[in-house]
């Protein structure tokens, strides 16, 4: 594992009106690391993730991607940097007016200016990787939720990103489809992809994460190796949260 810093967050604050969502967040994601962000709802996990590629504009603080502070670049530079950070959403957000393969090819052709046949090759390879090659010409509406999320992952990967951000990728899925998506993510982590995953899937976090960050009330209250955090949480809130989850399982 390399020590190259991919993402670095310093004194990040985010307010919506008077509502403080993120309070002085600091953290570093190194190349090849898998970070899982857990915590109760309303903790600010999604907002934190969306601040990493500036879908939400931080109120103050720095978000550095490979050394460049995203809060101080112009729109054009931001667009250029964003293409190197893949994002997967809770609600998939596939483009319903395009077929699966068109969803995958759009950004490589329009942003990276790849030729159609190159984009096609990459797209088919990725669809094969997520096990959906035979759905290339289907429209998203004809796919199950799990299939749509796998396509969404493939679409993000088609831009060959340095880091993948996952915003509760399995929360909108029927339980029987959660497995297929986690499996794809697991494979991705094994291949060395740098990942930041906001999730409620504690099993996945335990198995795949290099580090788990526990968030509550807009703070990161504890960060640790998964075994440590799940088996022996230090923070009271973390103890409480993990206790409840284990009870429910």
């Amino acid at each position: 594992m390399q020590d190259k810093k991919i993402l670095e967050v310093n004194h990040l604050n985010k307010k919506f009106g008077d509502n403080e969502i993120l309070k002085d967040i600091n953290g570093t994601v190194k190349s090849g690391e898998v970070i899982c962000v857990i915590g109760p709802s309303g903790a600010g996990k999604s907002t934190f993730l969306r601040c990493l590629n500036l879908l939400e504009k931080p109120t103050s603080g720095e978000v550095k991607f490979e050394g460049t502070d995203l809060t101080h670049v112009n729109e054009k530079q931001l667009i250029n940097l964003r293409e190197r950070m893949g994002m997967v959403f809770q609600s998939f957000n596939l483009f319903p007016n395009m077929t699966v393969i068109e969803n995958l090819k759009l950004a490589p052709i329009r942003v990276k200016h790849l030729k159609d046949d190159e984009a096609q090759k990459i797209a088919m390879h990725l669809l094969d990787r997520v096990g959906l090659a035979e759905k290339a010409n289907a429209y998203p509406s004809s796919l199950s939720g799990g299939q749509q999320q796998r396509v969404a992952i493939a679409r993000a990967l088609a831009m060959n990103p340095e880091v993948m951000l996952f915003d509760e990728p399995t929360s909108a899925l029927d339980p029987e489809m959660v497995g297929e998506v986690l499996e794809v993510m697991n494979e991705l982590a094994k291949d060395g992809m740098t990942m930041v995953v906001v999730t409620h899937e504690m099993g996945f976090a335990k198995e795949v994460a290099d580090e788990v960050w526990f968030m509550a009330d807009g703070y990161i209250l504890e960060r640790n190796k998964p075994d440590e955090l799940f088996d022996n949480p230090q923070n009271e809130r973390a103890k409480d949260f993990i206790g409840k989850i284990i009870q429910n399982v």
């Binding site: 590629n53 879908l55 667009i79 250029n80 964003r82 293409e83 190197r84 950070m85 893949g86 994002m87 959403f89 609600s91 957000n93 596939l94 483009f95 319903p96 007016n97 395009m98 759009l106 950004a107 329009r110 942003v111 429209y139 998203p140 509406s141 969404a152 679409r155 993000a156 831009m159 951000l165």
Partner: protein, 489 residues
């Protein structure tokens, strides 16, 4: 609220500027009398008329070709011949005739126009070339009730809006209710269906109707009028002294040789041609031409309307405040004024500065109008696309332009397709308003057929069917595309 007020004030300033400009232009044009010289240099005498007033002016179908004929046309031909220029005939609503010469759309207007004192204030008149006299048309069944005009006391009397007959009925028939309509054909129909008791009309026209329709009778108006109120003269733009003088020479000859009698006889023959066969099939070419123009205007205006609509909608999402303001003001203003006024403004108002032909003016006005509505529909469509789509596109590094082009607009169009279809369908129907500036669309042609055949209802029914066929066909096409888009996700 404050912002809106500012926008409204801006609009008023804009309008005031255009208005001032047009007045300045029209005044400066009137300053030097080059009217005769201009006609001679051009080699053409442009005349406007409203050809729905037999025997003064009306359309006939001669050897398969539409032709405007009548006594007035013969007078105009004689004038043109004496000036050694070619006669060009433009047609439009009677209401618009005087505006057309004031705004330079034509050199002169003819159409049984009575040179009243009020009209003399805004236009110049030639000498009177014909004195017809005023009369009333009544239903044959009322012959005993209305033996003379005196019996019309307290009756409901119809007359063409903007005509002398309208004013006279108001002034001279005690306790009467006067109903105005644009077309004499509509008035005759109103009479026959007892919506009005009598119709004030020039004597030669009344005679023509009585000859062609046994259910109608004519009574004398009994008005005591001076020459100006019963005679017909040719109207010119103010300050056209030289042209008026030249035309008066022709009129002197017409009067000396009593040519109008000859002209009226000729008109009578044409009217017989028209009424030999009043079946709607006989007039299919009229309707075909109307359909052709209605479709032409609709297609062109739909295209430009959508184009303008997309541009305005994108302006609404612009970062530039002034672009947003401009789009909002435009939409508010266009939606807040009637299409009819916009058509008149483009043709006559802007026409003072740049001379735009009627058909193009109509297309411009309808496109501009439709654009405002389409813009609002598209704006709604863009707002209806889920926010996640924008975020997904942004996370892939797509530019704003690509986001709109590939992601937002295709989905927006799918969502708004039914609303857009609705707009297209109403555009076909609303385009009929261009008939007031003489564009030969279906409504215009319908009125011509009604004037020619003396049949009030049947042509309306035919036009109704034709409109329905057009909109129904469009609905099928729209549904076809809607089905296609549904398939695509």
């Amino acid at each position: 609220m404050k912002k809106n007020l500012k926008a409204i004030i801006q609009i008023f300033i804009m309008i005031a500027a255009v208005f001032t400009l047009t007045t300045v232009f029209s005044n400066s044009a009137a300053a030097a009398d080059t009217s005769l010289q201009r006609v001679k240099e051009r080699g053409e005498l442009i005349m406007v008329t409203s050809p729905d007033y037999p025997p003064y002016e009306f359309q006939v179908n001669k050897n398969g070709k539409d032709k405007i004929v009548g006594m007035d046309i013969d007078v105009a031909k004689k004038v043109a011949k004496d000036l050694h220029v070619k006669l060009v005939i433009k047609s439009m609503n009677f209401d618009s005739l005087l505006v057309a010469i004031q705004t330079g759309k034509a050199d002169m207007a003819i159409g049984g126009i009575n040179p009243t004192a009020a009209r003399r204030q805004s236009v110049d008149f030639s000498k009177i070339y014909y004195s017809g006299g005023q009369s009333f048309l009544i239903n044959s069944s009322d012959v005993n009730k209305y033996k003379s005009a005196k019996n019309l006391k307290g009756a409901t009397i119809g007359a063409q809006t903007g005509t002398l007959q309208y004013g006279l009925a108001k002034k001279k028939i005690p306790n009467s209710t006067v109903k105005g309509m644009d077309k004499s054909t509509d008035l005759v129909l109103a009479l026959k269906t007892h919506k009005i008791d009598a119709l004030g009309i020039e004597k030669p026209s009344a005679e023509a109707y009585v000859k062609n329709d046994p259910s109608l009778k004519m009574i004398s108006s009994g008005y005591h009028l001076n020459k100006n109120e019963i005679g017909a003269a040719i109207a010119f733009k103010k300050g056209s002294g030289s042209l008026v003088a030249a035309v008066n020479k022709s009129i002197d000859q017409i009067k000396k040789q009593n040519l109008t009698e000859q002209y009226l006889a000729g008109a009578g023959k044409y009217m017989k041609v028209n009424t030999v066969n009043t079946s709607m099939f006989h007039y299919w070419k009229y309707f075909a031409k109307g359909v052709e123009y209605t479709i032409l205007i609709s297609v062109v205006s739909t295209f430009f309307g959508v184009l303008i609509g997309v541009i305005l909608a994108l302006m609404r999402f612009s970062k530039q405040k002034w672009l947003r303001g401009l789009a909002i003001s435009y939409t508010e203003f266009i939606r807040g004024t009637p299409l009819m006024v916009q058509v008149l403004f483009v043709y006559f108002g802007i026409g003072v500065v740049v001379n735009i032909p009627a058909l193009i003016s109509g297309m411009i006005a309808v496109s501009l109008n439709s654009g405002a509505y389409v813009a609002e529909i598209i704006r709604g469509g863009i707002n209806s696309v889920a926010k996640g789509q924008t975020e997904a596109a942004a996370s892939l590094g797509l530019s704003k332009g690509d986001l709109m082009r590939f992601v937002i607009l295709p989905q927006a169009f799918k969502n708004i397709w039914p609303a857009l279809g609705n707009e297209f369908i109403s555009l076909i129907k609303e385009s009929s308003i261009v008939s007031i500036i003489g564009v030969t669309d279906l409504i215009y042609q319908l009125n011509i057929v009604r004037a020619d055949t003396y049949r009030g209802v049947m042509p309306i029914f035919v036009a109704m069917l034709l409109y329905f066929v057009m909109t129904f066909a469009l609905t099928r096409v729209l549904n076809h595309f809607e089905g296609k888009m549904k398939h695509a996700g």
